[in-house]
């Protein structure tokens, strides 16, 4: 199929050039719309950067502002002073994200592929098995009990990876990608050639659904990178494996808690609140969290866009 479409594209291109792209005016219109929205999306991030460089006095006096009264690098100096703790949590976040994404994407693809195969006998059963958990769950505490007591997930990296290893949502998305991009004939042709099921999946199917896999990988890695609640639940003593996001969320939650309970804690809350890290420090940590994943993004995107060049016929 791929071969056919490529050669076909070559033939058509010259003749129907104008039919296969929008006029310059329409293109310009698209650019304006997309650019405006993109700007809207990027400004808050610039805002975070500005706050992280704002002086503490400025935030105290005029609040969060695009034009702070004075600037300061204190938040970053302080963040770097965290030293080991910061880099260690960085490392943990990377480790968890990479390991989690690899395992999770493999499991998702392996689960979604037979579901996509209309000739697979048990597909309805497994489809339901996964779908049902998207709707129903045992709840927080029962899941915690099973994960800790049965699976031994406590104070280890596995505890931060295993509970979100698999997502029925992603399976359904992956199955839909397979349905829309892989024609069944491709698989039948491979079967006739005597290819085994695993080798069909690896050699024939995977290359075709690369954009889909990249998309799933992006979603999964983002979920891992942003995850902090698992750390709250499962990390009690071994804080050295704490990920970066949890470091940030703890600061956030400490402030929230003191706000809610200040009437009960009285002077204690006031003392504790005065010791909390500054707003600019929190924003500096947000910068630290966003930058790596923003840098990794084009890597995933290459596959999505790579599909574009094959998929459409614009010069």
């Amino acid at each position: 199929m791929t071969a056919i479409s490529r050669s076909g594209a070559g033939k058509i291109k010259a003749g129907s050039f104008s039919l296969n792209r929008f006029s310059a005016g329409t293109q310009a219109f698209f650019h304006v719309l997309l650019a405006l929205f993109s700007l809207l999306c990027i400004i808050p991030f610039l805002f975070v950067i500005i706050i992280s460089f704002s002086s503490e006095e400025s935030i105290r006096q005029i609040g969060y502002s695009f034009t702070p009264k004075s600037w300061s690098t204190a938040a970053f100096t302080y963040t770097f002073q965290l030293g080991d703790a910061l880099w260690r949590s960085y490392f943990n976040s990377f480790l968890i994200t990479v390991a989690g994404t690899l395992c999770s994407v493999s499991m998702t693809v392996l689960y979604a592929y037979p579901l996509y195969r209309r000739d697979y006998r048990h597909r309805n059963f497994f489809n339901f098995l996964s779908f049902f958990t998207m709707i129903f769950g045992g709840g927080l505490v029962p899941t915690y009990v099973i994960c800790k007591n049965v699976l031994g997930l406590s104070d280890n990296y596995a505890a931060l990876i295993v509970p979100m290893l698999f997502s029925p949502f992603n399976v359904i998305i992956m199955r839909t990608f397979l349905q829309t991009t892989v024609p069944p004939e491709l698989i039948e042709a491979a079967t006739i050639d005597g290819s085994g099921e695993y080798s069909t999946l690896l050699r024939i199917v995977l290359p075709v659904v690369k954009p889909g896999i990249a998309t799933i990988a992006l979603l999964v890695s983002l979920a891992y990178w942003n995850e902090w609640f698992l750390s709250l639940l499962y990390l009690n003593k071994n804080m050295s494996i704490m990920p970066l996001q949890y470091l940030l969320m703890r600061m956030q939650r400490n402030a929230d808690f003191l706000a809610k309970n200040s009437s009960m804690l009285g002077a204690e809350a006031a003392k504790a609140a005065a010791r909390l890290p500054s707003q600019s420090l929190k924003m500096a940590l947000v910068v630290f969290i966003v930058i790596p994943i923003a840098c990794a993004y084009p890597f995933f995107q290459r596959y999505v866009i790579a599909g574009l060049t094959v998929g459409s016929v614009k010069g």
Partner: protein, 502 residues
């Protein structure tokens, strides 16, 4: 394909390998604290374990719960019957609320254990605090947690920026004679002198409400926004208040109406920062104004010695805390910080031995609170504690959440004799007439869920003066009625009457 599978399995195996602690003949007991800021406890725990090995016969491990994650962690550990946590912080205001968790069987009854392994507690902790911890729990009437000896009385104060007050030409006496309802003139002057963007009245709205109306927090009431009021006698806190020993709908009294009307006047005149009227922005705003000393009068629930604390000194102005009433002991304050033993624990005896030692032995208490001498602090020539700021940054637990703070040595900031004076200050505090009463909200839980949501919608904005009580208050009251306020109130009063009759 096999390679792929085995790779996957190997990876899963490696990831699931947990760190196994080296085998040791002593059992390990685990304690979970609240509000700590601890990232490196190795030096301290090494010393602690050396010290308690013979005395307790166990090794200690600590889970340093922070302000933000303690509630979820504790509820999770207790409700899941997790035997790996032996002791856990509890009190009248945390999510693992002492009275309800004791009643629901999560905490061990300690009376016998105290006799057999914790006799030292009986001399270390005052009888009145033991009494405050004695409640009707799952295993009958008894003590279900060791009550910490700390600031066990409540006292609300006006937090006055005296430097600014004098600059404006007023004195503390002026403030007191004019009273809350007559501060217009002073606020107007402040606004005039300091400019339009200056907000003289720095209230924590809920606290201000209690201060002005002389009402208290009723233990067991909805925690996020209180619904019930019990009115104090401001002249003598141990006598009955204007309404007797009766619980009232906080928002339906004349006192409340007068308060919110006055607050609305102040708010409309621009004396109150609007950020204080919104739940999530109010604490940040308050802390910021305090740090900058950009206020004239604030509210503060007070603990003895607060004026000597670093964050008050750092404001750079003279600060005075003017009390509304004498300190009073109510149920909430007397159950302010406790340590319970998890009923799933496999080491209740060792745990009790440890708690008894922690509350009676200054060496252990100091070690866990202030760290290791020579690393986290040094003693100066007067025998006062001088903290090493660097080491302390990675080890500063919440002192009041640990237990008997009266056996700690004095620090340089507090000055010699502080702990003794602290102890005396609270020993002299009088109890309110209904001390010990805890509202069991279980029978009206559904009403409380609905009422809590209604109160959260109106109370803060009203208390801060941000909305007009003329329209908002009647609306609020009828919403409360619709959500079952009367049933809630009747249940609470019936329980209080039954309690007082005993």
């Amino acid at each position: 394909m096999k390679k792929f599978l085995s790779l996957f399995l190997a990876l899963a195996l490696v990831l699931s390998l947990s760190s196994f602690a080296a085998a040791d003949d002593l059992p390990t007991i685990t304690i979970m604290f609240h509000g700590s800021n601890v990232t490196d406890d190795s030096a301290v725990l090494e010393k602690v374990n050396e010290y308690i090995a013979d005395k307790v016969g166990a090794k200690l491990e600590v889970i340093w719960g922070t302000w933000g994650d303690f509630d979820e962690k504790a509820v999770n550990v207790l409700t899941s019957g997790d035997k790996d946590v032996d002791m856990v912080f509890t009190c009248s205001w945390s999510a693992d609320e002492y009275n309800s968790y004791a009643k629901n069987g999560y905490f061990l009854k300690l009376d016998e254990l105290i006799e057999t392994c914790g006799a030292a507690l009986k001399t270390a902790i005052p009888e009145s605090l033991m009494q405050a911890a004695t409640i009707e729990g799952a295993e009958g009437k008894g003590i279900y947690a060791v009550n910490g000896f700390k600031d066990t009385a409540t006292q609300n104060t006006w937090d006055v920026n005296v430097t600014l007050l004098n600059e404006l030409g007023y004195t503390l006496e002026d403030l007191q004679t004019k009273g809350f309802f007559g501060w217009d003139e002073i606020f107007a002057k402040a606004k005039e002198v300091k400019g339009d963007s200056f907000y003289p009245f720095l209230v924590e709205p809920m606290v201000a409400e209690r201060m002005v109306t002389n009402s208290i927090i009723v233990a067991g009431d909805a925690g996020s926004t209180n619904l019930l009021s019990l009115y104090l006698n401001p002249e003598d806190v141990s006598a009955e208040g204007a309404y007797g020993n009766k619980l009232l709908n906080k928002f339906a009294t004349e006192e409340y109406k007068a308060f919110v009307e006055q607050m609305h006047k102040y708010y409309e005149a621009g004396y109150i920062d609007p950020a204080l009227s919104v739940a999530e922005t109010s604490n940040d705003a308050r802390t910021n104004h305090q740090k900058d000393a950009s206020y004239l009068i604030g509210t503060q629930s007070y603990a003895y010695g607060y004026e000597f604390s670093q964050d008050v000194i750092a404001r750079g102005v003279e600060v005075k805390f003017v009390p509304c009433t004498d300190p009073y002991v109510d149920t909430t304050a007397s159950q302010g910080a406790m340590m319970a033993i998890n009923s799933a624990s496999e080491h209740p005896e060792e745990s009790m031995k440890f708690l008894a030692l922690l509350n009676s032995d200054p060496v252990l208490m100091t070690l866990l609170n202030y760290g290791v001498e020579g690393i986290h602090y040094t003693l100066n020539d007067d025998g006062l504690v001088v903290f090493n700021a660097d080491a302390r940054a990675s080890y500063s637990p919440w002192t009041n959440g640990m237990g008997n703070v009266t056996i700690l040595p004095d620090t340089v900031d507090e000055g010699a004799g502080f702990r003794k004076a602290f102890q005396e200050y609270y020993a002299g505090a009088k109890g309110i007439p209904s001390l010990g009463f805890v509202f069991d909200n279980k029978p009206v839980e559904n009403e409380m869920a609905a009422l809590g949501n209604v109160a959260a919608q109106y109370a803060l904005a009203l208390d801060c003066g941000a909305v007009d009580p003329e329209t908002a208050l009647p609306e609020f009251l009828s919403a409360l009625d619709a959500a079952g306020m009367q049933k809630y109130l009747d249940e609470a009063n019936a329980q209080l009457d039954a309690y007082l009759a005993k």
